[in-house]
Structure formats: structure tokens, C-alpha cells
Amino acid sequence: MTSRISSIGLGITVALLLFTGCQAEGTKVPDTLDVGPPPQVEAPAPVLLRLTQQQYTHCVADLFGPSVVVPSGLEPDSQNDGLVALGSSYSSVSPLGAERYADAAFSIAKQAVEQAGIGPDCSLETEGCLREFAQSMGGRVWRRPLVAEELDVLVSLGQQAQSALVDSKSSLETVLATLLQSPYFLYRVEVGGGAEGASHLTDFELASRLSFFLWNTMPDDELLAAAIGGQLAGPDELAAQVDRMLSDPRARQGVRNFFAEWLDLYRLDELTKDPNVFKHFAPELGSMAREETLLVAEDLVFEKNADMREFLTTRTTFASRRLAAIYNAPSSVLEGFGPIEFPLDSSRRGFLGHVSFLALNAHAVSSSPTLRGLFVRERLLCHTIPAPPANVNTAIPAVSTTAKSLKERLQVHMEDPSCSPCHLAMDPIGFGLENFDGVGRFRLLDNGVPIDASGNIDGEPFANAAELAEDIAEHPDYARCLVRKLYTYASGRHLGDGEGAMVDWLVASFEAKGRRFLGLMRDMALSKQFRSRGEVAP
């Protein structure tokens, strides 16, 4: 199964004439493992990223400690191309969102001062103490030093509060609340400058880009100090910082968030199943299933520094008792998550065998070969499948004497020319996973009909789900898709003109170095592209 796989157009060329929307993008496979230096690529126009809800929460915890509670209901994140990281460069702040940011800022400021003991080292009676406080807090909240005019504004607001409310704490709270609802906190403002002009990020902007990419939160004091000291400009010093960050526990927070966004795992919060059909369903199943997948990802990335193909092929997972019951395996723990090994003769392998993937991409009463196939195409291979056309009856035909299993009932997708161009790209993948029901339990029969899980994906045959997982792991678009997703996640924007070459280089380097995820993150973080900044679109 290591032979080269052609693009998905194969076999449906005729159909494509009828439905050109289902064309897959071309596949580029590097010819050699000698990857050479990264290409010089022009940076696209910069975008203004707004902190995601998670980033906001992480920043508040980093700034004021874990005791400070962020009020719920902040402006929600939006997805773009399946990623919240991309959506945060599109959505604006609604009027209610602005109100919530304001309320949250005052609430957090009050908690920080009154409970977490945030305050100046000096006495507020002393001349200049409030200014000192604004300067030291401001530098952290805004992730850069403040200029004199900015400090003037903060100090005068603090003084106004003090005289209006006759309470010295109110001046501190007002300064903090102002910092926290400012765009310099809520957005990742990048204007460039630094030693190399507007086409490069300043050291502080680079520090933020690094920390949000690697940690999904703000820079720590050491990183900010390195930026102040100009120590992010030299390649060796930068590499040392990146290596330090990747070995910091916060890197797990960053990697987990990427996997959750990439694999749509946050949607598991909304997982519902018909309890009459699926006895193993419980309201907490969705979040448990997400944790399982994230634990597997963490284990492969950090503990094993594994080849990322293993994410799809490993027989090891970490399951709670409820999940273990679905896997029909003895749980290794009473509480929490413990390792279990899928048997060699089982066709359950890696992420495609997880409850997270199998239950999320299924209906409330049944599995869904179409949704599973769609997920593999869109999320794992970065292929584009258009939405079903309007005025098409999308109901799955009811059970009949000639069509009892879901696969038999979906035969119309394969035969009707208005359905087949797209469904031929999706359903056969899902048929390979039909041994797993709508919550991911293994089964041999579907409505009494023996399941035939064989098929082929883009010309590569498989006999069962284990071979399908291997085919996808070896599919050249899998590595490329992972790299592309991580690249857009890191930059917060779509690929610019010419950036495909950068992705090609990263793919080649990723493959040459054994497809290690941390290595890929490191390559990206150290690339010149990562700190370059295009011209602002008019």
C-alpha cells in the first residue's frame, strides 16, 4: 500500500463532466528527500486576529492566576475552513459582544485586585506609583511596552475613578479594565517595523505569534524579556526560545487545541444519540471521546515523538471505562483514562477507530458512511466536496425487502447521476467503516446483513477498516493536508499566492524527517516566512 496514489478524480472522470464541483485538487509529491533551503515566498497581506475564547481565558489565567473566573458568554468564535484560528480573522465584534468584553474586563479587574492580590509594589499614595503599575501590567496585558501617551491615558482614568468613587482600589481596577477591553489586548495587532522594516514583525509581535501558535496563549515573562533584549532576532537565540517553548508544558495546551480544531472535536459537546438505539450513549460521552483522541495525540507527539501516520494506524488508545465498554475491552482504570490496546485481529486502528470520529460523523440513530467519508476528504485529505444541490431529496430510502442494510439503501447515491459524482468520493470510504455503528461499537451485521467493509480509496484497495486506515495514512494528501492545516492555523489566514511552495517545502521536510509533529511546528516557527509581513491591502 505504499504505491503512489493518484488524485481522487480517478474513476469518476465522466461524472465530473456533469458535476465539476467534485473535482479534487492536484497532488504534489516531492521527488526527493533532499529538501534544500526553504523557498523565498512573498508574505500575503496581514490579517487582524481576534483572541479566541480559549486564548482569552488562557491569557487571563496567565496574567492573574487560576482563581480569576472569566465570565461566560464572550463573543463566540467562528470557524473558517473548519478552523477557529482562521475564523478569528474574519468575525467582528457584535454590540452585545462589545458589552460582554466591557463587563468581563471590569469583573476580571475586580477579581484580580480584590481576590488575586494584583497591585503595585509601591504605595498608591506615592507619586508615580499608579503609572508604574500601568506600565508593568500594561506591558504584559498588551504583550508589548506601552508608550508615554498610552500611560498618560491610563493614569488619568485611574485618577478619575479614584476621585469619583473615593476608593484607591478602583483606580487599579479601572486601569486593568481599560487594558483588558482595549484592542491591544483583544486583537493581535501587528504593524511591523523592527530592524528590518514594515515587512517584518517586531520582536514583540513575533513573540506573540510564537506563543499563540505553540501555546495558544500569551508570551511568558521570559519570552517577553527576550523580545525586550532583542534576542529573537538571531537564528540561534530564536531556535533556543522555540525549543524551550516546545518542551514547556504549555506546548501540550497548544497541540491539543490544534488537534481539536483540525478534527472538529469541539463539536462533540453537542453530540446527541437516540438512547433507544444506542444504549452506550450518555451526555458526557462526547467530551470523553474528545479527551481520548487528544490523549492519543499528546502521547504520539510528546511521549513518542512518533511518525504522524501512527495517528491513523496505532493500536494504542486511552479510554475511560465507558469508552472501554464501547470498545468491548477491559478498562485498565477505574477512574479517568487508561491505556488499552486494540487486538491485532481487530480492524479498529487509530483515530478512525475512535468513538470521537465514529460517533460525531454519524446520525442520531445510525452510522453515516457519507458523513464519515466527507470528514476524511475534507479534514484528513483537504479535498473539497460541495454541499448537496437544492431541491434534492436527501432522505435515505427506507428499509425494504431488497435494501436492508444502510449500504444497500445508499445504493441510489452510487447510481443516480445527480448524486454519484460526489457520493462516489465519500460513501465508499464510509462503507469501509460500516463495522462501527453510530457510537463506534464493532458489529458484523447491519440490520441482519453481513457487512462487507472492502473497497478502494483513490485506487488503493482495502479489505477492512484497518487497511483503509493504512491507505489514508499513506495517501500523499494526508501529510500535505496536515501541514496545510497547521500552516493556516499558525498564520491565521488562508494560503497566499505562492505560499503553496512554502507548504511544499514544509511537506518535504516533514516527510524527510520522519513526519514528527514537533519538528513540523519547529520548522514553521523558525521559518523566515513566519515573521514576515506582507503589505496592507488598501
Partner: protein
């Protein structure tokens, strides 16, 4: 002075309609009656959108009979108690290209314009009808518009591309926002919060920061920041109004305090309870003239909510349940019952010789007509209230087949005094309104 309306508003659909007896009028006389320019009897016009997800079934929806002589259909039966205040329009089609099921038609019916597809994602090209109306009548109130909904998700209220007005989904949060400590009922002794001035100064500083960031970014980001600034200006305006005197309105009163939480019951959200609590709050927010425009998104397009009595999520059922889809039908009825509740809650608030519903216009619709087929013809369109005598009530208006649904939006804008000349864009554009519903 406080008086609880809990006893007045409960139990509309449980049996006989409660007739609301307001205390003697002179106690509550509106001393600023002349402040209102529009609407019958000197009361302001209000606009509301009521939206539910995943459509209906045209075969069970379109009423029998036309004009003033008509009877409610099976799916409209819950509106029996307010039929005289309702006009149903049938036969219309959303003509914008149906390129993305649910979203394209939702965009068409709410903006009259085609959905924008960019970078594989979609957004609405311009303001939804509630925001169009808010631009005409939203400036005088504390809130330009109010967005809420039991299961509203991100809501259906757009200012423009990628700019949505976030809805309130928690009754208690909605209550706190509208009737929390900052609210003063007519006649209450007010103490102006001394922190309001400081908060206004903070907002000034934030506007300054936003302006500086705006100067350094590209056009798309400038537009996003402008939206953010618009929100901050709204907050500033509200703080300024709170520092002044509250409006003195006869019907203004505290709504009942909702429950602290409405947790899902075995995976089923309490759609009905949440909606009713919020409808009660919003009726009185309108009576207190805190806003004149609302958007109630009961459920969102594509929602997969496990409704009471259903075996699977709503969206799944629309596609998976065999005909005649009894469960989907039951869910549609539940949605229309909630519309009925909203209309009843407005009607229960007396204003002068009339009531709040008469002074309002509620436009009720969904994202598709037949959810199973994602169809755009026979679109569900209900109008209720008369916008103070501008729109006919108690009619079934059957248009020529596939008449452009944007005509209704044009009529709505006209009813609120907007002189637009045309409405919508591309396939959705119309140059005439639906005169059959206009007075």
C-alpha cells in the same frame, strides 16, 4: 413602583386567554406621549423577527381560502388565538441562487440578497431586515435592537458580512441586562451610579485605541473594527441615557424574574420554557421603550435539537424520517406554538386604547420551506400586528406563483416609513412591494 406581571402573562396556551387588566390608567399615564412621532395613538412602532430553523411542510401549511375569508391550516393551527392579528402570505419564492442549503435561502428571505461565498465559507452580504428597520427606528432607545432566542446559536441578525449581532440565549442574562440594577421603573427613586462617568471615559479611551489600530490595517479589518467601534458607541450612548431620567411609560413594568438556569432535560433543551421566559421579558422591554426592534431566533438553521417527543435531532429527522414525517410535523407545531406565545405576550401589554401587538409588526419565517428538500418555493411568511395600522391583519394573501419574496421585505420597510425605491439585489431585487398586504 414595581408590579409583577407574572400573573398577567402566564397560561396563554394552556386554555382560555387571560384578559389583562391594567391598573387605572391615570396612575401610569405617559407624560411623554408627544415624544412619539409614528404609529397609531402616539405609540412607537416596533419590529420583531421570529425565526425557527429547518422549515415546514407546504402541503400542511398553506391555508384554505383567501383574503379575509380563510381558515388556518394544520401547521398554523396554534395561531388560532391570534388569527385576527395575523396575515399569512403564501405562494412566494426566495429567488436568490440556492447555492448552500439552508443558508442561501435564509439569507434571501432576511436580506433579499444572495449569500456571499468566499474562501469556502459563507456570510450574509448586508443587513438583515431587523437591522434595516433598526437603522430607521433604533436610534432613540437604550438598545438599537435586541437579539435573543432559546436556541439561537449565533443568531440571524447581520449588520453586514461577518458581522453578526450576538443573541442572548439565557433568560436570566436577558433579564439582568434589561431589568438589572441599572434599570429604573417609572416612579422609582433613582440614584445615578457614580461609576457610569468613569465607564464612559474608559469607553472613550477604547474608541481611541480602536481608531489607532484601524489606521494601520487593511480595508476588511477596518470594517471589522468599525463594527466594534459601533458597539462601543452604543454602550456609551446607553451609559449617557442611564445618567439621565428613565422614560415614564404607562405600560412599563418589571417582568417576572426567570429561573436561574434551564438545563437540558435528558439531552433535550427546554426550548419552550426558555422562549416563553424571554418573550415575557422582551414584551416589557418594548413597553418600557428600551428597544423597538427585536430578533427572536427560536432555533437556528440546521439545528439538530432533540425536541420533546422526538427520537432524533430536528435536522436529522427532516432528512431521515419516512413520510409523512409525523415527528417533523410535531416539531413544526411546537415552533408555531412558540410564535403564538410571543404574539400573545405582545398583545397582553395594553398601550392606550390598543395593545403592543397592534403597534408592532412581527415577521415570522424560516430558512427553508420544505426542510427535507431544502426548497425555496412556497416559503413560510407570516406577518402579525399591523405596525400601527400600516399592514393588514387577519388575511391570507396568495400571490402569483413564485412571486419574489423580497416584496414582503420591501413592504415591511415601507411600513416603517423607509422610502427605498427598491429592495434586495440581483435575483432577489424588487422594485415594487407586496401591496396586497399594505393598508
Amino acid at each position: 413602583m414595581k408590579f409583577q406581571r407574572r400573573t398577567l402573562l402566564k397560561g396563554f396556551l394552556g386554555g382560555a386567554l387571560v384578559t389583562v387588566g391594567l391598573p387605572p390608567l391615570e396612575l401610569f399615564m405617559n407624560t411623554h406621549g408627544t415624544a412619539y412621532a409614528e404609529g397609531a395613538g402616539g405609540f412607537p412602532q416596533r419590529f420583531g423577527l421570529f425565526f425557527w430553523g429547518n422549515g415546514m411542510n407546504p402541503d400542511r401549511w398553506v391555508p384554505q381560502g383567501e383574503g379575509a375569508d380563510w381558515s388556518l391550516s394544520e401547521q398554523l393551527a396554534p395561531l388560532a388565538g391570534v388569527k385576527d392579528m395575523v396575515t399569512v402570505v403564501s405562494g412566494m419564492r426566495v429567488l436568490v441562487p440556492n447555492i448552500e442549503p439552508h443558508h442561501a435561502t435564509a439569507c434571501g428571505i432576511l436580506t433579499g440578497r444572495p449569500l456571499v461565498m468566499k474562501d469556502g465559507e459563507h456570510t450574509f452580504p448586508g443587513p438583515t431586515i431587523d437591522q434595516t428597520i433598526a437603522s430607521a427606528i433604533g436610534d432613540e432607545t437604550l438598545y438599537r435592537s435586541l437579539e435573543f432566542g432559546a436556541e439561537a446559536g449565533a443568531g440571524m441578525s447581520f449588520n453586514g458580512p461577518y458581522s453578526q449581532n450576538l443573541p442572548e440565549q439565557s433568560p436570566i442574562a436577558l433579564f439582568e441586562r434589561l431589568f438589572g440594577p441599572a434599570f429604573q421603573a417609572p416612579g422609582e427613586e433613582g440614584v445615578v451610579d457614580p461609576s457610569l462617568g468613569v465607564k464612559r471615559s474608559v469607553l472613550d479611551a477604547i474608541l481611541g485605541d480602536l481608531g489607532r489600530v484601524k489606521a494601520s490595517v487593511g480595508a476588511a479589518d477596518k470594517a471589522r473594527l468599525e463594527q466594534h467601534m459601533e458597539g462601543i458607541r452604543g454602550l456609551e450612548k446607553r451609559l449617557a441615557k442611564l445618567q439621565g431620567n428613565p422614560p415614564d411609560l404607562a405600560a412599563c413594568a418589571y417582568p417576572p424574574t426567570p429561573a436561574a438556569a434551564y438545563p437540558d432535560m435528558e439531552g433535550r433543551p427546554q426550548v419552550r420554557e426558555k422562549n416563553r421566559a424571554m418573550c415575557d421579558i422582551v414584551a416589557l422591554a418594548l413597553a418600557c421603550d428600551q428597544t423597538r426592534v427585536f430578533s427572536n431566533v427560536l432555533t437556528r438553521p440546521l439545528n439538530n435539537i432533540l425536541f420533546e417527543g422526538a427520537t432524533a435531532g430536528h435536522h436529522n429527522l427532516t432528512h431521515d424520517e419516512p413520510e409523512p414525517q409525523p415527528e417533523v410535523h410535531a416539531i413544526t407545531l411546537q415552533c408555531i406554538e412558540e410564535l403564538a406565545y410571543q404574539l400573545e405576550s405582545l398583545r397582553s401589554v395594553q398601550e392606550g386604547d390598543g395593545n403592543l401587538l397592534e403597534h408592532s409588526l412581527v415577521f415570522a419565517t424560516s430558512d427553508v420551506s420544505n426542510g427535507k428538500l431544502h426548497s425555496s418555493d412556497e416559503f413560510p411568511i407570516i406577518l402579525a400586528g399591523s405596525a400601527g395600522g400600516k399592514i393588514k391583519t387577519g388575511h391570507h394573501v396568495r400571490t402569483v406563483a413564485n412571486d419574489n419574496a423580497s416584496k414582503v421585505l420591501f413592504s415591511i420597510a415601507k411600513a416603517f416609513g423607509m422610502n427605498l425605491g427598491e429592495f434586495g439585489e440581483a435575483e432577489g431585487r424588487v422594485t415594487e412591494s407586496l401591496t396586497a398586504i399594505e393598508v
